[in-house]
């Protein structure tokens, strides 16, 4: 490298390397040229054909979404055709200007702009996005006259989803909304991409989501020749779409309406089931919301209002609220004791008014106790001491096994919300079925993982770690009413195939048969009938011309630690949750239900009167005048929360 000192030889070296580089460049260009010859000469015919094929475009034709009707044919969800004004953002150079110009022609509100912005953020950019929906004929004509001024803007006729009864049964029906990236992923995972070409809406919650693929239908196609501008010139072939299948529900819309009204302004849930099929007659979670708000894309204001409300209208309490069952747990405890031989029905205990375990004393509510208490009396009067002792005798393992068989603390797999790949519903909470094993998994610290004998005692009266959804309770009471034959709770009775009108029945087979002794079942049922005749439910069912079995319950609200202090609201939110389970007529039940009223006080006070209204309509056709009244003089019984004294 010594030569570098010499500028002359330095230049020589450079020129040599520049020459080398020039040859390398030439060779590389020859390589490119060879590739071009391969593509453009040798393979030209193949690619020319492919380019020709590209001129034929498949335009998807979106099918009509299936209609949803209740058991009597009342329409709950349908479609209607309307004109929308849509913008394809990728074809518009200045969106703001375009929208402003459109606003001079057609009424465009700030909320329309906001929604448009929101949809645009969600959408893939080549889509056309509605700026206004439901144009009047006059507006359509107005725009048509000025259409030339607005490239990339179009009026389209589209089918819209409509829920004609508004808020009614919204937690069951769910709603549809525009397809987001996450929905798209979900569709892809299920290999339904092709069928969703052109589809813009998808079921987001409830029945709309669970039966998405039934309701959607099969997308049709039109083969069109497109000109150099990409516009369709003529149709070559048309494969019409197949409409989605129609759903007929087990739900009774009128019953649903009466039940929702019975709640008045109170928060809560009610699930009413036909015990002999598992078909859900009413599924209420209050407050509700109007699913129509979601169809065109909900406005940010509405969304904020729904989401920020302290009453949480978007939460489906029937499926996702897990509450301690309180004393409604007692009939199941009694049945378990009989089945497993821990108690004979006539076996009585002497109730001193408390139960002592180690140095803990568990108080009965009635001062001095209920005296001599057998199983019948324990249910009718809701005696706590009886169940403290029983729980202690049974032990947590036996209780947990029996309640697990009944479906408590398990997903019911109701046909609502998202299904996972195994076909299970992901939309409901499991709740908590307490057991030593559950505790081991729930807690991390070893000293918390141990199950203490004292914890079993409060489980016996439905408090402690117990937490079940109203749906699980309804399923359990329906199974009891049906003498141990358990059905999966479901909302769709049958699916009507849109191609041939064939009806596909959902759930003709029982889920499982629990082989309980009829004598044992009868003892519990009789006691539950007497609850409403001479026990805690007497006042609510006074004068009923049918025999209804029931059990009141009260769930403690103890989660106020850490909750925000809201003066005025605090007092109400400190009240206990009221519960009631029931079925009627007692001898041949056609309806079983579980009611929960959040902060409703004790069960007889606010939950039982709602059950009465439901039964009165369902069995007698009686239409109530207003919401169920609270009975402030209701007999309290023992079903109010656990009183625990420590010595």
């Amino acid at each position: 490298m010594g030569d570098f000192h010499n500028p002359e030889s330095n230049l020589e070296l450079f020129r040599f390397r520049a020459g080398f580089a020039a040859i390398a460049v030439l060779l590389a260009f020859m390589l490119l040229l060879a590739r071009f010859v391969w593509l453009q000469v040798i393979q030209h015919d193949y690619y020319r054909t492919r380019a020709e094929d590209n001129r034929i475009s498949l335009v998807p034709i979106v099918p009509n979404r299936g209609v949803i009707v209740d058991r009597n044919g009342t329409v709950l969800a349908r479609n209607y055709s309307a004109f929308t004004l849509e913008i394809t953002p990728s074809r518009v150079s200045n969106l703001e200007e375009t929208i402003n110009a459109l606003a001079e022609l057609i009424d465009i509100q700030p909320k329309d702009r906001k929604r448009f912005k929101r949809l645009m953020d969600e959408a893939k950019n080549f889509e056309s996005i509605p700026i206004r929906t439901r144009l009047s004929d006059e507006e359509v004509a107005k725009f048509a006259a000025h259409r030339y001024r607005f490239p990339g803007v179009d009026v389209k006729a589209r089918l819209f989803r409509q829920y004609p009864l508004g808020q009614l049964a919204s937690h069951a029906l769910g709603y549809i909304g525009r397809i987001t990236d996450r929905d798209l992923e979900w569709i892809k995972e299920r290999e339904q991409e092709a069928n969703y070409k052109g589809t813009e809406h998808i079921g987001k919650t409830g029945i709309e989501q669970h039966y998405e693929f039934e309701l959607h239908g099969k997308t049709g196609y039109e083969e069109v020749e497109i000109d150099a501008g990409g516009r369709a010139v003529r149709s070559l072939k048309r494969i019409p779409p197949t409409s989605g299948n129609n759903l007929t529900l087990t739900l009774d819309a009128k019953l649903q309406e009466i039940t929702e009204k019975a709640f008045g302004n109170r928060r809560g849930a009610l699930v009413a089931i036909e015990p002999s099929t598992g078909g859900i007659l009413a599924l209420v979670s209050t407050p509700t919301f109007d699913p129509n708000l979601f169809v065109d894309g909900i406005t940010p204001d509405n969304w904020k209002e729904l989401n920020d409300s302290p009453d949480k209208p978007m939460v489906n309490r029937a499926l996702n609220g897990a509450y301690p069952p309180g004393s409604t747990f007692k009939p199941f405890m009694a049945l378990g004791a009989l089945e497993m031989g821990y108690r004979r029905p006539e076996q009585a205990i002497a109730d001193p008014g408390y139960f002592r375990l180690g140095n803990h004393t568990f108080m009965d509510d009635k001062k001095g106790g209920h005296g001599m208490v057998n199983m019948h009396k324990s249910i009718v009067e809701s005696c706590n001491t009886y169940y403290f002792m029983l729980a202690n005798d049974m032990g947590i393992e036996a209780i947990s096994r029996f309640m697990g068989e009944l479906g408590l603390g398990q997903r019911t797999n109701i046909d609502l919300g998202k299904k996972n790949k195994a076909g299970e519903s992901e939309s409901e909470s499991r709740g908590v079925l307490p057991s030593p094993e559950w505790k081991k998994q729930r807690f991390k610290k070893p000293e918390q993982q141990k199950w203490y004998a004292g914890e079993t005692i409060s489980i016996g009266i439905g408090q402690g770690y117990n937490a079940y959804t109203p749906l699980q309770l309804a399923q359990a009471v329906a199974t009891l009413a049906n003498n141990g034959v358990m059905y999966r709770p479901h909302l769709v009775r049958h699916i009507t195939d849109s191609r041939n009108g064939e009806k596909r029945l959902i759930e003709p087979q029982p889920l499982k048969v629990l082989n309980w002794k009829q004598a044992h079942i009868d003892i519990v049922k009789r006691a539950m009938v007497d609850v409403n005749k001479s026990g805690t439910g007497t006042r609510a069912f006074a004068g009923a011309p049918y025999e209804a079995a029931g059990k009141t319950g009260t769930a403690q609200v103890f989660s106020l630690r850490g909750a925000k202090y809201e003066s005025g609201r605090l007092k109400e939110r400190l009240r206990d949750h009221a519960l009631f389970i029931a079925f009627a007529p007692a001898d041949k039940p056609t309806i079983a239900l579980a009611v929960l009223v959040e902060n409703g006080g004790f069960g007889a006070q606010s939950a039982a009167p709602i059950a009465r209204m439901v039964f009165d309509y369902y069995l007698l056709g009686k239409i109530p005048g207003g919401p169920a009244a609270e009975d402030s003089d209701a007999v309290e019984g023992d079903d109010h929360p656990l009183k625990e004294a420590t010595q």
């Binding site: 450079f14 020039a22 071009f36 000469v41 020319r48 590209n54 074809r91 990409g230």
Partner: protein, 371 residues
């Protein structure tokens, strides 16, 4: 009167003197084809970008003219600070950059954002040319090693973003300087051998999407709706063009919007569909002339640094062309490299004409400064 005439003639002479006409003619010829193609690719979509590109050219031309009037020595004086600024900005990007589409390339300046790797496209060859000039008297292994480090740091920072396309362009520009400075053939051979041996290891360093692009190249049909789609549609466009092409404004692949990024990175597919193999030949010839003119200027340059700089710039043009055309015609993986003087894009055009200005400056001053 005649005095006036003289003055105007003098000014005109002063104005056009720095311009190297062959170079400008070739660049403008390519640009003209580019603008025509941009027009074809975008006019039907309410957003014709051809006028914008002409405006971009106006800006780029003024810059080119200013650079051409400046002496290479003055340009090279800016090399170290420019290089340093570039590295500092790249480090800032690494630390505080904005993440867009999974890569961190931009630096927010409040009102606007900049992409510092663009600076490196010019700063890298300038810096290395300046460095070799400084050590011209005693070029040894040590100097090559330092040059290698100067090259490796920005390269690594850009590759990490990740922006493999730009890293490749910056790296290549730097390597050309070292190559022209006389790096031993043995070392070049050794590097190539080492690179080949390390390929499996490098594969693991790539991001998933980068691996996917390479795999897609081998079999585009494996991902027909993703990056394979670009390759398939571009190949169809080129292939369908045939020998003479479909004619200007008649490319169906373009006008039916089958070609993605048709006025930027994939514009060659548009051109190729409408002008065919003959058009491609013309375009390749123009690029060959451009590179040839550049190398000629390099060979006549007065100093080592200007030689290296001109050589590296010329070969950089080649890299752009080869990587872009290779990508569009499906023999190289998809990396974001525009076709020089052809693709739509203001920043790229300004950078490219800056380089042309540097070449002109070197050409103008070939006799004036002799050591």
């Amino acid at each position: 009167m005649s005095d006036w005439r003289h003055r105007i003639r003098y000014w005109l002479h002063q104005a056009v003197a720095p311009i190297d006409w062959p170079l400008l003619a070739i660049a403008v010829a390519i640009l003209t084809l580019g603008v025509m193609t941009i027009n074809s690719a975008t006019f039907f979509n309410n957003s014709n970008r051809a006028p914008d590109q002409i405006a971009n050219f106006a800006v780029a031309f003024v810059l080119m003219w200013l650079v051409a009037r400046t002496s290479p020595q003055n340009l090279l004086r800016f090399a170290p600070p420019l290089y340093l600024l570039g590295v500092v900005l790249l480090v800032l990007v690494f630390l505080f950059g904005i993440r867009i589409n999974g890569s961190t390339r931009w630096l927010s300046l409040g009102i606007t954002r900049i992409q510092p790797s663009e600076i490196m496209k010019i700063a890298m060859p300038l810096m290395l040319a300046w460095y070799f000039q400084k050590h011209e008297a005693a070029l040894g292994l040590r100097q090559y090693a330092v040059a290698a480090v100067l090259l490796a740091v920005p390269f690594a920072l850009i590759a990490k973003q990740p922006d493999l396309g730009t890293a490749l362009l910056v790296g290549a520009a730097g390597f050309y300087v070292i190559f022209f400075a006389g790096l031993s053939w043995y070392i070049i051979g050794g590097l190539i051998a080492a690179g080949a041996a390390a390929a499996p290891f490098l594969w693991h360093l790539l991001h998933d999407y980068q691996k996917q692009r390479i795999l897609t190249l081998i079999d585009p049909t494996s991902d027909p709706l993703g990056s394979g789609y670009h390759i398939i549609q571009a190949s169809i466009a080129i292939g369908a063009g045939g020998v003479v092409g479909k004619g200007y404004l008649n490319g169906t692949q373009t006008h039916l919007e089958f070609i993605p990024e048709r006025h930027t990175d994939f514009i060659f597919a548009v051109f190729s569909e409408e002008w065919g193999l003959l058009g491609n030949l013309v375009l390749l010839t123009l690029y060959l002339l451009l590179i040839g003119r550049g190398l000629m200027i390099a060979s006549n340059a007065a100093t080592l640094s200007t030689r290296l700089l001109a050589g590296a710039i010329s070969l950089s043009f080649f890299t752009y062309v080869f990587v872009n055309m290779g990508m569009v015609s499906g023999i190289l993986p998809v990396v974001g490299v525009p076709l020089p003087f052809f693709s739509y894009g203001g920043t790229a055009l300004v950078t490219l004409f800056f380089c042309i200005g540097v070449l002109m400056s070197i050409q103008n001053h070939r006799m004036l400064v002799k050591k």
